[in-house]
Amino acid sequence: MAFTLYSLLQAALLCVNAIAVLHEERFLKNIGWGTDQGIGGFGEEPGIKSQLMNLIRSVRTVMRVPLIIVNSIAIILLLLFG
């Protein structure tokens, strides 16, 4: 399995796209992963599920605009260079 750095970048881009595509209203709420359903008490341990939900929400918020730019660049590069 020979990797190049470019394949790492492509894989990372696809993974971040996959996380950003999860829609809050249509999908996450239906499986109980909405961010307003998960915030339990203000105790010490957040737990894995609420950490994951926070991660998904922050990826969606932070990476929205940069993902548009990076995806456009990737599309153009793939069209030009195959």
Partner: protein, 293 residues
């Protein structure tokens, strides 16, 4: 005429002397100059004569001041940009090693079973640098081991007559990609399990990089003693590395204040440590088996 010719030659000398003025760009230890602003040595009267002319010349003054300010401004900008991405002080901590530390750490990586005290020592809440503490992680060994591994892979492929220069770059980038993926997975695991410790990215990078030492030993043994020697060395270095990782990460993940964690979080941390440690032999095998046939 003497003034003009002296201006060209001594102007550059004077600029070299004036530019280190507030931020010394380099320690000028050549014998002729001192780095203080006013402390010009007096090699001869002609230097003083031309310096006086330059001080008296307002255009040269302005040019010198402008050049000096541009140089310092550029230096500040470079430092600021660099500091935004990589904290250089934290990185310097990982490279503060000496020969005795490297030798002892390599011995520890190969034979960790007799080491008693695995705690990282602190001095006033700041971890000690690797020079003074054997248990502190460093980035020098992983970096050197990575480079040695790439060169050794090239040599092993050359012995089997499968070498070409692209293979070297491919091997290096493959190993680098695996390291990056492992560090990202570990970061994700540390975030999800809410481990409250001072395990930064560089710590994880250091602990991931220690497997290259095992890889080098396995490949060397495989080159000298054939396939059987490779598997023996693989088993030995894998078990040593697993033991090393589990002992080191268990004390490192607790941090300087080892309060009792609630039980499920401790279990998560244990699973994370065990998973990280079990992943190492797989990686050692995966990245080296094609070199020893």
């Amino acid at each position: 005429m003497a003034y003009h010719s002296g201006y060209g030659a001594h102007g550059s000398k004077h600029r070299v002397r004036a530019a280190p003025d507030p931020p010394p760009l380099f320690d000028d230890t050549s014998g002729g100059y001192s780095s203080q602003p006013g402390g010009y040595p007096a090699p001869g009267a002609d230097v003083a004569f031309n310096v006086n002319h330059l001080i008296g010349d307002p255009m040269a003054n302005m040019a010198m001041a402008y050049g000096g300010s541009i140089a310092s401004h550029g230096k500040d900008m470079v430092h600021k940009e660099l500091h935004r991405f990589v904290s250089v002080n934290k990185l310097k901590y990982f490279f503060a090693v000496d020969t005795a530390y490297v030798a002892k750490k390599l011995g520890l990586l190969v034979f960790p079973y007799t080491h008693q005290n695995w705690e990282v020592q602190y001095s006033r809440d700041v971890p000690l640098p690797p020079r003074q503490d054997l248990n502190a992680p460093d980035l020098y060994i992983p970096t050197m081991a990575f480079i040695t591994y790439v060169l050794l892979a090239g040599m092993a492929l050359g012995i089997q007559k499968r070498f070409s220069p692209e293979v070297l770059g491919l091997c290096a980038s493959t190993a680098l990609v695996w390291v990056v993926m492992e560090v990202l997975a570990l970061l994700l695991g540390v975030y999800l399990a809410t481990v409250h410790s001072d395990l930064s990215t560089f710590h994880l990078l250091a602990y991931s990089g220690y497997k290259y030492v095992g890889m080098i030993l396995s490949v060397l043994t495989g080159l000298f003693f054939g396939s059987h020697g490779y598997y023996v060395a693989l088993a030995w270095t894998s078990s040593a590395l697993v033991y090393f990782m589990v002992r080191s990460l268990r004390t490192a993940a607790l941090g300087p204040d080892s309060m009792g964690n609630p039980a499920p979080r401790q279990r998560l941390q244990l699973y994370l440590t065990l998973g990280a440690a079990a992943f190492q032999p797989l990686m050692i095998y995966w990245l080296t088996f094609h070199l020893v046939r």
